[in-house]
């Protein structure tokens, strides 16, 4: 009897708004079906996710990769042993009830979250020094431009209401990003989130995103482990340090024929995980890193680290850290008479590095997740619009944030206001995203495994070189051949 009473109340509550305030319902914008033209595959995905109940899982094909992150046989961990289990080869599913949540009736704006280091704060996560704001601000600019352009084109087309960027700062104490994601998910009611840069904060953020069931698009964290978490809600639209490390290792040993390489890196998560594939790849190719030295962020004098590297007589030095430290280390090296080739991560492609390094920058080679000198019309047009809007050049973080936000906005237009469906259309795209940074092809782990580059400072500019340009094409190091490997193992026995 009590259940009956309650059910009646629920029914009444549902009826009341329509009985008493019909004018409000009429005031709601008309929902337009299929406002965005999509390919046949995406249309099929949409049809499937729209047809399931809260208890069903749509019958969507899951991407299967032959190799994780296109890892080649010679740098595969424990390559002489077949692992008991390989992860990340099959795309993760979302099996919860979220797809059945109806699109809300009353929405004034379509909120999209942004989280990045945009305010100067002291951060334990980043080694006790605030240092990523320049990157975060560029990221925000890219995201903001994408939102503004979408609004200029009609906003959320189904209802003709604008998108709204909900901005959060994540450069705080460890865990602050978690609080921010919670707030965006449960109080601001954003539909998806773009961010972050710092690897530690990113991990915290995606753990929250998983529990809150909201899409998290990353455009600035190149930590390989970010995506190695099996979370079906996490995407990354920038190539990571694993991909960049693979290219650098090939270049160091296969192209240059070096044997004794040393590393100097920041003593934070970015430095620690950034060089991991370089360290492992070097060892697996038979050229173990001779010495790896770490430094605290904010240091001005690197003589201790450099003296040690000088003592072991390395042929080249790889730096993984921020632009400022990268330039100071390079200058100090040259002052100490260390003339070894200098390699660095993509953060040293920033103007700050060149400004501080001066003529020493000439000949430096940095890894890069993309080629900003490409002349694709789409990119050139973006660059022009970005300059016009902000009076600055777009760089890595701005351009990738623009792409990441564009992907989110596309997904919202296609899927509607439902977090699970937004995730679905992104996760089940058949074709690479044609972004301003190039084609973004997602792996089964929903990570960008597009082409990466080496940039060499030549005169007053960076020249970008692909694998093909460098003479170390991917075919040079064959992808894993399980059949042959198994046969070889049998023959050894």
């Amino acid at each position: 009897m009590k259940r009956l009473v309650v059910l009646s109340c629920v029914a009444l509550a549902v009826c009341l708004p329509s009985c008493h305030k019909p004018q409000e319902r009429q005031a709601q914008p008309v929902v337009t079906e299929d406002p965005v033209q999509v390919d046949a595959h995406t249309a099929e995905v949409v049809a499937k996710i729209n047809s399931v109940s809260a208890y069903e899982v749509p019958d969507l094909a899951l991407q299967e990769d032959e190799d994780y992150a296109e890892t080649t046989e010679d740098v595969r961990p424990f390559r002489h042993v077949e692992p008991y289990k390989e992860h990340f080869l099959v795309q993760m599913e979302y099996t919860g009830p979220g797809r059945a949540i109806p699109e809300p009736e009353h929405v004034d704006t379509v909120k999209v979250g942004f989280i990045g280091p945009i305010m100067s704060t002291v951060s334990v996560a980043t080694g006790g020094k605030s240092h990523e704001e320049p990157l975060g601000i560029k990221m925000l600019q890219g995201a903001r431009l994408a939102i503004e352009e979408a609004n200029a084109s009609g906003g959320y087309l189904r209802r003709s209401i604008p998108f709204e960027l909900v901005v959060s700062n994540d450069n705080g104490l460890w865990g602050a990003s978690g609080n921010e994601i919670v707030k965006m998910a449960y109080k601001d009611h954003v539909w998806a989130i773009l961010g972050t840069i710092d690897g530690a904060n990113s991990h915290i953020a995606i753990r929250v995103a998983l529990k809150a069931e909201i899409t998290m698009m990353n455009s600035g964290d190149t930590d390989p482990t970010f995506i190695e978490t099996n979370i079906p809600w996490v995407f990354r639209c920038i190539s990571d340090d694993r991909q960049q490390g693979y290219l650098l290792v090939d270049y160091l040993y296969r192209k240059l024929g070096l044997d004794r390489v040393g590393i100097i890196r920041s003593s934070n998560r970015y430095g620690r995980f950034g060089v991991r594939e370089i360290v492992d790849g070097s060892r697996r190719l038979g050229h173990p890193i001779i010495l790896e030295m770490a430094y605290q962020l904010g240091l001005d004098d690197f003589s201790l680290q450099l003296e040690r590297l000088k003592e072991v007589d390395v042929q080249a030095i790889v730096h993984w850290g921020d632009a400022r430290e990268g330039a100071l280390i390079l200058n100090q090296m040259r002052q100490m008479g260390m003339e070894q080739p200098y390699f660095a991560c993509d953060r040293c492609l920033l103007d700050e590095f060149v400004t501080l390094a001066g003529p020493n920058a000439d000949g430096v080679i940095c890894t890069s997740p993309w080629n900003p000198t490409h002349t694709d019309e789409k990119y050139l047009a973006f660059r022009e619009r970005f300059r016009e809007r902000f009076g600055e050049e777009p760089e890595t973080y701005a351009a990738h944030a623009y792409d990441g936000m564009d992907m989110i906005l596309w997904a919202i237009q296609v899927a509607g206001l439902n977090r699970a469906k937004i995730r679905d259309v992104l996760a089940h795209r058949a074709q690479p995203w044609e972004g301003v940074t190039g084609d973004i092809a997602l792996s089964a782990a929903l990570d960008d495994v597009g082409e990466v580059y080496l940039a060499r400072r030549e005169g007053d500019r960076w020249q970008y070189y692909s694998r093909q340009d460098l003479g170390v094409p991917r075919e040079y190091t064959p992808l894993r051949d399980r059949t042959e490997a198994a046969m070889a193992q049998v023959s050894r026995q």
Binding site: P77, G178, V182, H203, T225
Partner: protein, 387 residues
Amino acid sequence: MSRMNSRRVCLVCIAFSTSVATAKLPYVYTDWEHFTVKDGLPNDHVFCVKVDGPRVWVGTENGLARIDKPTGEVWSWQEKDGLPWQVVSSIDVNPKTGEVWIGLFGGGLARFSGGRFDHWHQLNSGLVNDVVYGVTVENDNVWAATTAGASRYNTVTGEWTIYTEKNAPMEEIWNYGVCYNNGKVYLGIWGSGVLEFDVATEKWKDYLDPDGEMEIDLYRDDGVVHVITTGVSYVDNILWVSSYFGMCRYDGRHWRGYYERETGLPSDFGNAVKGRNANEAWFATDKGIGVVTDFASDTWVTYTMDPNTHEGIAVVSRNKDVLEKVRSPQGIPHNYALWVEFDGNDVWVGTSKGLGHAKGTGYYPGLKDRPVHTPSARNLVDARQAN
């Protein structure tokens, strides 16, 4: 606070037996009832459950609930009722005081006692972060597993102790699950495997994936299957662990890994684990519940629900060989399972679409000679009509 009275669900327990053979088989739960918002829960997304004698505490995405088993009453609390934050991710009860400790996902830690909520957060206490994933009571202490370390609160002295990478062997500080039993606290840590804290000596011990690689598990039984762990449960000197990459069991000397491809696990994506004893553990996954019912023989029962008919499906298997398949009018409320809690012979299962209560009438541990159920289509039709 709101209340809903006397919920009485009529479930018809159907004996599907048309069997002719007997075999050594585990107990299978076929008598289920569900609780959702229709029954008084504040929200269907159930993150955690804690049984405290006749009371069942339920943490949801939008409030706290208590089911009084003798009367069937369902009570609930939301922010408007004084609950400090809407998302309840974990609950434990102090057996000495009856105080209910509540982990709030993004809202810190709360204590519910005498009808009042007390609230601790990172700005008024030693709680290291407000995003709390797990909470457990250890003697006079309350542990909170947060996204930025673990906190231990002494409820007698009021002293807080924070554990991070600075004073514990946490490679990463992203704590997920926590449990206490028999003098040991275990933390399941995202990126840092499992940590063991010996209460008597206050010494730590870490358990990591020996191969050190994220993308592979080199050997199944060489240690914890992956460093990203989600749940821990310590019972009868056995540690059970869940992760998003498979599950495992540790007896203090030997590890045993479990993967979907060779066991009754419905998925390798484990949200939580609860060990019942040294031989039985329940794993809550994104595709149902996997129960290792007899460790020695590696016998499993896999509980799922038919998304179309909503009937329960229980599959008994050993080494992937299906020994028995039992359908029941109801099963787990949804296949996305988030929590398991034991209640004597009964079991509570939290899912993203309701709470399930499995009644264990006649439950027995391990295996027993009994007839093999072989349901007929006629039984199922009758069952649906009866329900």
